[in-house]
């Protein structure tokens, strides 16, 4: 038995080694036909299918966000491929919320001649993996990385997700004005890069607004029971509780706060921007202020169409991850069409030409730092829906 096993293992190992080494000869799979076309914009026609890639966290800790993003991308792909002139082939890969896999996925995309890559889901992974795209001359469009320094890693790196610095200060300002805030308690999960960077901006903005932070409470991104923290917060009698957390934490936090009798307004960041908040926290969510990049209540035709299509396709409303993903593909499409070419350097150039593009996120421009610019929104939950705070 042992001998048979040994032979089997050696044979399969050799087969894989051979397959692995020889595949190099075939070259990476590339698009059929040329990627340079004629015309421009809506009239652009490209013969070959433009290969695009996405590296998302479909399994592992960030799986729920990856799934939203995947939904958004697939929806956009359908819409784009329904248009004339340019056809896209989108390959979505899983990085398993593991930097090792993310790096491998990016290497593969570079090698396979992919025109541009979307992702990854997490900022830390981005710092680790996108330099590979930069070195390989392949454009990357980040759709959920909000940390500082993402686009500074290289001139092939762009993003359509607003940074915390573009969203939070105006949220804090609006909230301070509305509620006349003098002292607050801040709560955030300190073991997640996204929420921690959000917290830093919150702390700065509060200081700028002259609001006193009487207590800063930290929790883990995996936490779901906040009663003891909230009890401690309650004792400080804050005018508001400012929270930097992901939706998994936001929902129980809001529910339990109201349960414990805390009536002070709760102010959250990008992580709160999810219709699940109202669906699952119910009445407790009323009055929660959410500062976010995407205004789900926007009545722009792009947004209305997007939300309807998403609901029809997936049976529930989209969240910010899905909206930014959907927009990401629109942005890439624009970049391809503007130079009418799927070649990497042309796409890179095209991305710098994104100005006032009409998307579900609003009128989006990519500035000279390769960051996105569009108006952020301060929302308030009213009657079970997000409404814009005046």
């Amino acid at each position: 038995m042992r001998k048979a096993l040994r032979t089997a293992v050696i044979l399969s190992a050799s087969a894989l080694l051979l397959a692995g080494c020889s595949a190099a000869q075939d070259g990476g799979g590339t698009a059929t036909g040329s990627l340079k076309g004629t015309g421009s914009g809506d009239a652009c026609t490209i013969e070959g299918t433009v290969p695009l890639g996405a590296a998302l966290s479909l399994t592992g800790a960030a799986a729920s966000y990856g799934e939203s993003q995947q939904n958004g991308l697939n929806l956009a792909l359908k819409d784009l491929n329904a248009k004339d002139g340019v056809k896209y082939d989108l390959k979505i890969e899983d990085d398993g919320t593991d930097p090792k896999q993310a790096i491998g996925v990016f290497e593969k995309f570079v090698r396979d001649g992919t025109s541009a890559v979307i992702g990854p889901t997490l900022s830390n992974t981005a710092f680790q993996a996108q330099p590979i795209a930069q070195d390989g001359g392949m454009p990357v469009l980040a759709i959920s990385n909000t940390a500082e320094g993402i686009t500074e890693q290289g001139d092939f790196i762009f993003r359509d997700s607003l940074t915390e610095g573009q969203v939070i200060p105006q949220t804090i300002e609006a909230a301070t004005e509305k509620f006349g805030l003098k002292k607050v308690v801040v709560m955030y999960s300190n073991d997640d890069a996204f929420t921690e960077s959000g917290y830093k901006v919150m702390a700065e903005s509060l200081e700028d607004q002259g609001v006193d932070v009487v207590d800063t409470l930290k929790f883990s991104v995996k936490d779901t029971d906040f009663r003891s923290l909230l009890t401690a917060a309650k004792e400080s009698k804050p005018d508001a509780i400012v929270v930097s957390a992901l939706i998994e934490a936001a929902i129980p936090l809001v529910t339990q706060a109201r349960e414990l009798g805390i009536d002070a307004p709760i102010i959250g960041g990008n992580g709160f921007n999810n219709p699940q908040l109202m669906k699952d926290a119910g009445a407790a969510a009323e009055g929660v202020i959410v500062g976010a990049a995407w205004n789900s209540a926007s009545e722009s035709p792009e947004n209305i169409a997007f939300m309807k299509a998403y609901e029809d396709e997936y049976g529930s409303g989209p969240d910010q991850f899905a909206a930014q993903a959907y927009t990401g593909l629109l942005v890439l499409d624009h970049a391809v069409r503007v130079n009418c070419s799927g070649e990497r350097t042309d796409v890179q150039e095209g991305l710098t030409q994104v100005k006032d593009l009409k998307t579900p996120l609003g009128s989006l421009t990519i500035n000279k730092d390769r960051d996105a610019e569009h108006s952020a929104v301060v929302q308030i939950v009213q009657d079970g829906k997000f409404a814009v705070l005046n």
Binding site: R2, L5, R6, V9, I10, L16, L17, A19, G20, C21, A23, A24, G28, L58, T59, G60, I92, E93, D94, G96, P99, K100, Q101, I103, G104, E107, K108, R111, S123, N124, F127, Q128, P131, I132, A147, G149, N190, D191, D192, A193, T195, E196, S197, K218
Partner: protein, 581 residues
């Protein structure tokens, strides 16, 4: 193509990380703090090392690696000392907790950048990574056949037996911990200098578990187990991707399934598919060459070897041994007899240092017992066998005896690293010595059989051979003839007399009274923990009290002795409990 740059690098990195688990698993320690060592080493190195522009990439990397290894070593010592006494699952949980505590510390510290981590320039190349892996593999390859490597295996197989052979278990454990710390630190630094961002989340519970899984899947049977394990684990997602398995839940499912299959059907890991080369000896080439062994000076005939004064042991009211006074002289064959529960094994456990006395004192070969650890007493020249064989079951007879020679063999590991010929000579001398010990007990033809594959009688003799290998001055045998028939017992009796003729002092516990009367010069009878009689065989056989208490009436003598052959229960485990280091 399967092998991208990162695949190559990660196979090497994961291999190094797996080696950090291997280092402690070979010694049987389930220490799982390596992720913590890696984290703190990575961050410290990244902080203290200047940017590559200053010295160039290779010197920078070297500096960082040295820093990382030092930090890893220091952290391992900090963990190793308080957890000295922990074993098995306790140790696993304690060390996991330690690693998690380090992660939380890193998360909450300012200098690390918290959850967002610290950015580090990418300096590591596949070549450097594989060179490091090769060096680490080389280290462990040379370790397997050295005195140090064998001592670690002994500790894994049976810690108590290892102690009684003279192996300083505490010291060896700590060194294994430090090795793990150094390797984990190395991994942490290499990781940081490859992925460009070092963050606490990369050193959490799942990393710790992944490392353990890699090491176990690869297997500890062979020194390149970790590399095999790393290859398997690193390639698995890539292979799934290439085969075309859809991204999503099915990949982790398949990974889990494969892991399960490997564990169930490949007990020693993938490395077990490659048969392990056992140390063999060419029987024909036995020479009387004792030059390479640090044999000890034995006491002269008649000199006092052991002196017991009012030695006593009680367990919460139960007096196992009461005030025993005894003198043992060099060259004597001393028989220790008495009914079950008389305290014989307890007495002998005290003499060999396994349990401390409750009162009284004793000096054995010049060493006071009680406060002295077992391995020091063994080093002074006392070795023993146990009532229930404590052999190193998964090693061959020859390897068992080779380990037995620990205190007289010369350390060879460091010299083996640089291939010094003197190391090879010393190893050869040790091998020959071990073979001779086997020959002495008549087991030479079974030298290459695994200990667990030997018959019961052979196992008992192997234990004696192993005890002999340490060149003892005092040999203690606990019921060596148990389960033997008359022919075998006679053979044993002859062996004991011939060993005594060579100058060895022997104390042995036996129920086979006939054999004791025939073999010994000096017999002590214990009853209820006290010395009932102490004299020559003739004295004892004629002693009224002895006959009354133990031997029974003359015509019942044979039957009683036969019935009394049943091995006593309980006492050895108690001895193990009291064991101190």
């Amino acid at each position: 193509m399967l092998f991208t740059e990162s695949t190559l690098v990660f196979i090497a990195l994961n291999g190094v990380f797996a080696f950090s688990f291997y280092a402690v698993l070979v010694a049987g320690q389930l220490s799982l703090a390596q992720a913590g060592f890696a984290g703190i080493a990575g961050f410290t190195a990244a902080t203290l090392t200047p940017p590559p522009a200053q010295w160039g990439p290779i010197p920078t990397l070297l500096f960082a690696m040295v820093v990382g290894m030092l930090v890893g070593a220091v952290t391992a010592v900090i963990l190793g000392l308080p957890t000295m006494k922990l074993r098995g699952v306790y140790l696993a949980i304690a060390t996991l907790g330690f690693a998690e505590a380090i992660r939380i510390f890193l998360l909450n510290s300012e200098w690390t950048g918290g959850a967002q981590g610290m950015s580090v320039p990418k300096t590591l190349t596949p070549v450097v990574a594989w060179v490091v892996l090769a060096l680490v593999t080389y280290w462990f390859a040379r370790q397997s056949r050295s005195r140090y490597g064998r001592a670690l295996e002994a500790i894994r197989e049976d810690e108590l037996a290892a102690r009684s052979i003279g192996i300083n278990v505490g010291g060896h454990r700590l060194s294994a911990f430090v090795a793990a710390g150094v390797l984990a630190g190395l991994y942490g630094v290499m990781w940081a200098y490859y992925v460009r961002l070092v963050a606490p989340e990369d050193f959490g519970f799942s990393t710790a578990i992944d490392g353990l899984v890699t090491a176990v899947v690869g297997g500890t049977a062979n020194f390149f187990g970790p590399i095999l394990g790393s290859g398997f684990q690193t390639m698995l997602p890539e292979i799934q991707r290439t085969i075309g398995i859809e991204a999503g839940w099915i990949r982790p499912f398949i990974s889990g399934l494969l892991l399960l299959l490997v564990i169930l059907y490949l007990p020693g890991g993938i490395a077990s598919l490659i048969p392990r080369r056992r140390q063999k000896v060419d029987i024909a080439s036995l020479q009387t060459d004792a030059a390479g062994l640090s044999l000890r000076a034995h006491p002269t005939a008649g000199e006092v070897v052991a002196e017991l004064k009012d030695l006593a042991k009680e367990y919460g009211g139960v007096h196992a041994v009461r005030g025993v006074n005894l003198t043992v002289r060099s060259g004597e064959v001393v028989g220790l007899i008495g009914p079950n529960g008389a305290g014989k094994t307890t007495l002998v456990n005290m003499i060999s240092g396994l349990i401390p006395p409750s009162s009284g004192s004793a000096t054995v070969l010049g060493v006071p017992i009680g406060r002295t650890p077992v391995h020091r007493i063994a080093a002074a020249g006392v070795t023993r066998t146990f009532q229930h064989s404590k052999l190193f079951n998964r090693l061959t007879a020859l390897e068992n005896v080779l380990i037995g020679a620990h205190v007289v063999a010369k350390p060879t590991f460091l010299r083996r690293l640089i291939w010094l010929p003197s190391a090879r000579r010393d190893e050869h001398t040790a091998l020959t010595h071990a073979a001779r010990c086997l020959d002495r007990v008549g087991l030479l033809d079974k030298a290459n059989t695994l200990a667990k594959g030997l018959s019961y009688g052979d196992q008992r003799r192997l234990e004696i051979a192993r005890a002999l290998a340490a060149d003892p001055s005092l040999l203690i045998l606990d019921e060596p003839a148990a389960g033997m028939n008359h022919v075998e017992a006679d053979g044993l009796s002859e062996l004991i007399r011939s060993l005594a003729a060579d100058g060895l002092t022997i104390i042995f516990i036996e129920h086979n009274v006939g054999m004791v009367l025939d073999t010994c010069d000096h017999i002590i009878v214990l009853n209820f923990g006290e010395v009932l009689a102490d004299g020559t065989p003739a004295d004892i056989a004629a002693d009224e009290r002895v006959i009354e208490a133990y031997l029974g009436a003359a015509d019942d003598g044979e039957t009683d002795a036969h019935e009394a052959d049943v091995a006593a229960a309980a006492t050895p485990t108690k001895a193990a409990e009291e064991n101190d280091d």
